[in-house]
Symmetry: C2
């Protein structure tokens, strides 16, 4: 549940497991293109990614893409179709709420930009940060959020504030007209109906990893 | 599947959904402690986090923690028990493979350190980076990985290299004796039996969020 993006609107949605697999295919296709591979079969994608071949064919058919018998998919064309479908080539304007170490780090991560996330503003309650820039992105007072969302056509709010403030900031973003919230805090936040919420709980991943590690080295009862 | 930490050793493992919920409880308890709340009931945790109360009681019973009838749990004690159990107060030495924008950002994120991740070295194929430091962490040539893992007692390897190199770096980490790999690339990587793998696919979350956003604004067929 923790990792899902949910909205109360159920219609016309691609199944989330499919959406999560499409970026794997894309990553693998980029590797193939770099290696100058021209065509790829479902079977070979399946072997490389440990996904059932019929599942891959089904996932790609959601995009209206079908491979050719015995030839498979053309690597360049499939890569571009996936990028188009996933929206990675479009710009999605976002505001970063909280520019402490994680927020500043995410602004600096050019990878997000390559995947279509266009962080156009930051906000932080630390008044010393107002008017400064991080990686070319200006930092504002959080009181300016509503104006920024309107003026800069911002659809996505990213939350990287301390866990105690996460819900309050989410409420502020929703009130400002944000359409989707990407929550990087370990807090479970609630959003009004119609606002998409996606949780990336980095620390949950650490919890799972530590537990598995401790089980490897010193089995629990 | 994408978000799971898996290992081939099945015994003695806390269920992963439970492990993923424990950090939510911890985050909520931190908020309560900040608000000077002394006791909390399962019912109130359940309301705040939108989790079934019986599920919460069951999750906490895995840790040997039971609330008192009508009083509930003592906030401080439960918070500390969760931190202990989750290993967030212990140091877990890690090496960052790839210190481009994401890798450098993760090294700079003090949040990871607060949750017990102790990044003691970085490695990058860019020779200009060898011998430099990022946030006090020295950057080495990847050829030094095996020696670093041994000398610095490193158990966790974090992969933040370009997607094309992810598998190669994972192989290198496994050969160097790493026990767990935290993969931040969108690539599906394979690891030998007994090595824990955890995938944090930031870009998959973007894919889901963009799709849900597009469905809100312009319904697909």
């Amino acid at each position: 549940m923790n990792e899902k993006a949910t909205t109360s609107r159920p219609a016309d949605l691609l199944p989330e497991p499919t959406l999560r697999r499409l970026p794997w295919y894309l990553a693998y296709l980029s590797t193939l293109r770099n290696a100058a591979v021209e065509y790829i079969s479902t079977t070979r994608i399946a072997e490389a990614l440990d996904v059932d071949p019929s599942q891959i064919a089904k996932d790609l058919s959601f995009l209206g893409i079908r491979g050719k018998t015995r030839i498979g998919y053309q690597v360049d064309a499939l890569e571009q179709a996936l990028r188009d479908y996933l929206g990675f080539d479009r710009r999605h304007n976002a505001i970063m709420m909280g520019v402490g170490s994680l927020g500043a780090a995410l602004i600096a991560d050019s990878g997000l930009h390559r995947y279509g996330l266009n962080i156009v503003a930051g906000a932080d309650i630390n008044p010393a940060l107002t008017g400064t820039t991080i990686g070319g992105v200006e930092i504002y007072n959080p009181a300016d959020t509503e104006r920024l969302v309107r003026d800069l056509d911002i659809k996505i709010g990213i939350i990287a504030v301390p866990v105690e403030s996460a819900q309050e900031v989410a409420d502020q973003l929703a009130a400002a007209g944000i359409k989707a919230i990407w929550n990087f805090t370990p807090s479970r936040i609630r959003v009004p109906e119609g606002v998409v919420i996606s949780n990336t709980s980095i620390y949950s991943h650490l919890a799972v990893m530590y537990n598995r590690l401790s089980t490897l080295s010193e089995p629990r009862q």
